[in-house]
């Protein structure tokens, strides 16, 4: 019984860790797209100008 309980606990915590890591990776993706696609820094804006028009990001 005791081994069984500890196994379920391990499975639960590894699933939790997996979800947390996936969520972190997703946040990183959102941060990257937000920074390149929506940043209003003038230099960033000019550097990514053709890209943003070509991706139809709401730009200027």
């Amino acid at each position: 019984m005791a081994t069984h309980a500890s196994t379920t606990h391990d499975v639960a915590s590894s699933a939790q860790s997996r979800n947390l890591q996936l969520a972190l990776a997703g946040l990183l993706g959102i941060f990257i797209i937000g920074f390149v696609g929506f940043s209003q820094l003038q230099a960033m804006h000019n550097a990514g100008h053709d890209y943003r028009h070509s991706m139809a990001f709401p730009c200027h």
Binding site: A25, V36, G37, A43, N46
Partner: protein
Amino acid sequence: MSIFRNVVFAAALAGLCAGIVMTVLQTAFTVPLILQAETFEAAGSGHSHEAHGEAAGGAEDAAAAHSHDEDAWAPADGFERAAYTALANIVTGIGFALLLLVASEFAGGLANWRQGLFWGLAGFAAFTLAPGLGLPPELPAMPAADLLSRQVWWIATVALTAAGLALIAFRASPLMALIGVALIVAPHVVGAPQPVSHETPVPADLHHRFVVAVTLTNLVFWLVLGTMAGLVRTRFAARLGAPRAGLA
């Protein structure tokens, strides 16, 4: 953190490939139209016949004039400008690949390249097609509504479309499918913020060609991204866990 590392590595590979493909497509199909439109932007105030006359050859000069703040740094036209476009494509390709991979992992994981292709189609629908209905791709020198309200509408439309597609694809219930459709339709019922006037010196024909070019280049981008994500994912299947039953 092995799952995080694996997802980021897989996304980097898929994003790199899709970003390079996208750069080639943009150079061929969208950037020439942007340069052509910039000649109208530069000619905007003057509206002289000379300005129209040099439209074909003067794209480079006009591009240089396209800066909102004269002091701000901008890449030099030609190689430097193209290099920054390529960099933006690859970096955001990795960002989009992260979102695609994370979403598909939560849904069970991509089992093969074909599932990736379908996820790519969904990404195209959510990130290009849906927001493009209300806010068609714009060329320089075209009027637009307030930037912040357009960005809010764009982000909301992407999120609602993705959520709606997920409900339709992964909830085997008619009610959930109906709610999914409602989520996809909702932002278009509200309507995208529109400029006060649509008057622009950019010819309608040029804009139409640009909308078609942007939509199709983005379609190819997403299909390459999804397919590559599916291919790379199968290489890391052992680390990420075997894919569970999914779509396709």
